[in-house]
């Protein structure tokens, strides 16, 4: 194992689990490579020139080297490779490799590139130049900056624009900033905003829907100039000024993220198209797909300081991942029996990309990648052949729970399958209704349709499945699968003419004991009400 902080330049002797491939461009790529080397990992930085690079930093010229110190004996601490286009990256067992590239295997992949900057062209009636980090206010002039038009500007782009406005003002120019929300939620933002106001930068707050109107007019000599009209929403007065230059400050937009990236990143993308879903489980730059990370503008983060912290956080996670992946003994996490027909449902459904197929002439075998498998059980519950089982939470444990119900459960007992993460701490904190029989499952997604039927057949008067809130599941969508199965059973019961509220699904989090208690009592009440109604119907028939 590579020592922490030691020389990282000699790659050949490195255990491939400790090699990381950075696919990126620009400062994000550099920061990622620096951070990985700083924590002692071996890094190959594949610089892909078609990937966007836009990020923002304060104009006060901080260098990224100050953010991430790397001490290495000589030369560049990482290996570089250059590509024009994004290469295709494939998984090979627990490793990654560049398709058609060198034979090198990597234990992890880090995407590290910038964003593009979008401008809401409907909101600004004519095309204005987009404010870029590199736009220097070289000659003092009358400069207009239009923030938040149609959509809030990226906070870091906006603060950079305020800084450019201030610099122009200090040099003797005149700066006008039109905005809806001043960018103060960034380090030093409020101070800079104050300084700019004191220096004479004119800030004009406008209302949503009343974006400034920009006209192009004749300027001095043969030059062009612009006229901006807006209404200051605080004092309610119109403002009408002329500028030599106008910049629109945009919002972060994902550069085209190719299929190549989507595939290896497990389609882990947010609603805006940035890498990594909105889930809090991806917040530090770690994808649901194990061994895949992302840093920088490609995740929607545009501020240099934040990107540096993200790169360092990813480096720490990547190193922990390398330790885990390499040191876990090859004990299988799931067992696969002979019923497997290699439909590859498990491979597609696994949120952590932990299932692989070992193709062999006689008989291909499904295997689980030891370090990636979190034993959530989604594969087990979706396998159409019921060929899979979790080593850490085997079916026979569930069967003895059901056998116990069959033999010993009192009348009116109902089962609660609770996700370990969200409910296991809560059970002890609440007053459960009588008859509740709990079984903690690794993820609500482990509760299959057949388990729900089996539980009813074992004599439970009802089954309540509780998972994490949608969007909060550590197995990405396990909770939604549980909900879908419950709904399916409802549908089938109704198709059979049984309108019994015997199955239900609800969500909670580990910090909602009051909610958890209410859910249990509500379910019990609905079962009791149904039992009473059935009893009285039976009585009336006699």
């Amino acid at each position: 194992m590579r020592g922490v902080g030691s020389d990282c330049s000699n790659m050949e002797s490195v255990n491939p689990f400790f090699r990381v491939l950075v696919l990126g461009n620009g400062l994000c790529g550099e920061l990622a490579a620096r951070a990985l080397c700083a924590v002692g990992l071996s890094c190959t930085y594949a610089q892909v020139s078609e990937l966007p690079t836009t990020i923002y930093s304060r104009l006060s010229h901080e260098t990224f080297a100050e953010h991430i110190p790397v001490s290495c004996s000589d030369g560049t601490p990482w290996t570089t490779a250059a590509f024009d286009k994004m290469p295709s990256v494939k998984r090979e067992g627990p490793f990654f490799k560049i398709d058609g590239g060198a034979e090198d295997l990597f234990g992890a992949v880090v995407f590290a590139f910038g964003a593009s900057l979008g401008l809401h062209s409907d909101a600004i009636p004519m095309k204005v130049a987009a404010f870029q980090q590199t736009t220097p206010p070289a000659i003092p002039q009358r400069m207009g900056f239009v923030l938040d038009a149609g959509r809030d500007s990226d906070r870091y782009a906006a603060i950079s624009a305020v800084e450019a406005a201030l610099e122009n003002q200090r040099k003797g120019g005149a700066s006008y900033v039109f905005f809806r929300n001043a960018p103060v939620a960034v380090t030093g933002g409020e101070l800079l905003y104050d300084q700019a106001k004191k220096a004479g930068v004119c800030f004009v707050r406008y209302e949503e829907g009343r974006e400034p109107i920009i006209h192009q007019i004749a300027g001095q000599g043969n030059g062009l100039a612009f006229r901006i009209q807006a209404v200051d929403s605080v004092i309610g007065e119109p403002i009408d000024i002329q500028c030599d230059a106008i910049y629109g400050v945009g919002f972060a937009a994902p550069g085209a993220i190719q299929d190549a990236i989507y595939g290896i990143a497990n389609y882990d993308v947010d609603q805006n198209g940035f890498l990594l879903s909105e889930s809090i489980h991806c917040g530090l730059g770690q994808s649901f797909g194990r061994g895949v990370f992302a840093v920088g503008g490609c995740t929607g983060t545009l501020g240099l300081q934040q990107i540096a912290s993200q790169a360092l956080s990813v480096a720490v996670k990547a190193r922990a991942w390398a330790l885990r992946a390499s040191s876990l003994a090859s004990v299988d996490r799931i067992s696969v029996n002979d019923e497997c027909v290699r439909c590859l449902t498990c491979l597609r459904i696994c949120p952590h990309s932990a299932i692989s197929v070992n193709y062999a002439p006689a008989r291909s075998k499904i295997t689980s990648l030891t370090a990636s498998c979190e034993q959530c059980g989604l594969c087990v519950s979706e396998c159409p052949q019921e060929a899979l089982d979790l080593i850490g939470f085997p079916q026979k444990g569930i069967e003895s729970f059901l056998a116990d119900i069959r033999q010993n459960a009192a009348e009116g007992s109902f089962v609660v399958y609770g996700c370990e993460r969200s409910t296991s701490d809560l059970v002890a904190k609440i007053g459960a209704p009588p008859g509740a029989l709990f079984l903690a499952v690794p993820c609500a997604g482990r509760v299959s349709e057949s388990l729900l039927w089996a539980t009813l057949n074992a004599g439970a008067s009802g089954v309540l499945v509780i998972g994490c809130h949608p969007g909060n599941c550590a197995s990405r969508y396990g909770t939604q699968w549980a909900g879908a199965r419950v709904k399916e059973i409802w549908r089938k019961l109704q198709g059979m003419g049984i309108a019994a509220p015997v199955i239900s699904y609800a969500t909670t989090s580990a910090r909602q004991p009051a909610r958890f208690e209410t859910l249990l009592h509500e379910f019990k009440r609905s079962l009791d009400k149904h039992a009473a109604a059935t009893a009285s119907r039976n009585e009336n028939r006699q």
Binding site: G3, V4, G5, A38, V39, G40, R58, E62, E66, H67, I68, P69, V70, D152, R180, V184, A185, T187, G188, G189, E190, L191, D194, R205, E207, S233, I235, G236, E237, Q271, N272, L276, E278, I280, L284, G300, Q305, A308, S309, L312, S313, V314, A315, V316, K317, R319, A320, L323, R324, D425, H469, P470, G471, N472, T507, S509, A510, R511, Q512, E517
Partner: protein
């Protein structure tokens, strides 16, 4: 090397837990020293604001971290203790003296590095009479509201939650305020209030909810979705925070807002003050013990973190809101940064 000397982490909130978790995952021993009797810091009493789905407040991360740290044999936890002194051997850290909060007893913990993760103090709006806090019925802070929601005890604030209610959130209370030395944005409160507003609207659809802001700071991956939800749910987002709260004759709370140069008076049943983050109690003494400088606001910021040496004093690292105000995600990134820098420096500690 220094296999047996752990990294001592001052503070068992989000930042301290995250640093401990990251270092433990990387095989390094840590000790968390927390002055309260439970882990979790400020977030332990913060509410989950999920509606029909998670809104990304990150509070449950603390629960995950506590579980992870408790089940790791690389992390030891000292509850009810605080730092008393730092002992160096030359420029390296040798040990940390800690003191029991309750008994005053002191003991020594070997250490190779120290992480300051002592967090923040929520602003107390009693300081300014015009907010009416602790004086007028129906005015509470965002902190209190979260405590009531989290403990299922909202009825102590709203006697009948099923009745229609007009409730308003006031942003920037104790933030962006030069007069109290808090000329900064606390960065968490606009989003936290908006999520709470969405959660309340979902739980009690008959409530009418307004949110008064100066500059709305909703950023992050869910920003678009949160704002879209706020609009479709009819939450009023109003620019301009009223300057004074008074109690009207009918017992309701009355405020005046200025818009387009005109005054407009509005009445509410309840007003929630979104309080900012102030430096933690005892920051001065922690800074002195560790040899750190505080910035003009009382935080341990290194201006642009990283623009000087990354460790402000040899062997001393900083994580979380004691450096800069922020939300949980920012704190987690800052903790990751501290852990990475410790790993990078480890052979020299």
């Amino acid at each position: 090397m220094n296999k047996n000397r752990p990294i001592v982490i001052l503070g068992g909130g989000v930042a301290g837990l995250a640093v401990a978790d990251a270092l433990a995952e990387n095989g390094l021993p840590c000790m968390i020293v927390e002055r309260e009797t439970a882990l979790g810091g400020r977030v332990k009493n913060w509410a989950c604001t999920a509606t029909d789905r998670c809104l990304g407040c990150y509070c449950c991360k603390v629960d995950d971290l506590i579980q992870s740290v408790r089940s790791s044999d690389m992390v030891s936890v000292q509850l009810g203790w605080e730092v008393a002194r730092l002992v160096r051997d030359g420029s390296k850290i040798e040990s940390v003296g800690i003191r029991s909060v309750q008994t005053g007893e002191e003991k020594v913990a070997d250490a190779c590095a120290v992480v300051a993760a002592v967090g923040f103090e929520p602003y107390n709006p009693s300081e300014k009479g015009f907010w009416g806090y602790k004086r007028l019925d129906g005015v509470a802070t965002l902190v209190e509201l979260n405590e009531w929601v989290q403990s299922g005890n909202l009825r102590s604030f709203v006697s009948d939650v099923n009745q229609p209610l007009r409730i308003a959130f006031f942003q920037c209370v104790g933030s962006r305020d030069r007069s109290i030395g808090a000329n900064y944005c606390s960065e968490y409160c606009c989003s936290a209030s908006l999520r709470m507003a969405l959660h309340l609207r979902y739980s009690y659809p008959q409530w009418d909810i307004s949110l008064f802001y100066i500059d709305l700071q909703i950023a992050g991956k869910m920003a678009g979705a949160l704002l879209k939800d706020a609009r479709s749910q009819g939450i009023h987002l109003i620019q301009g925070v009223p300057g004074e709260i008074i109690q009207a004759d009918d017992g309701r709370l009355s405020v005046v807002n200025v818009k387009n140069g005109l005054n407009a008076r509005e009445e509410f049943d309840k007003i929630i003050l979104s309080t900012g983050q102030r430096p933690a109690r005892g920051m001065n003494s922690v800074a002195e013990i560790l040899g750190l400088k505080l910035n003009e606001f009382g935080f341990i910021s290194q201006s642009h973190a990283g623009s000087q040496e990354h460790a402000p004093a040899p062997g001393v690292y900083v994580a979380g809101t004691c450096a800069e105000p922020g939300n949980i995600q920012k704190t987690l990134l800052s903790a990751g940064r501290a852990a990475a820098l410790i790993l990078a420096d480890y052979s020299n500690l």
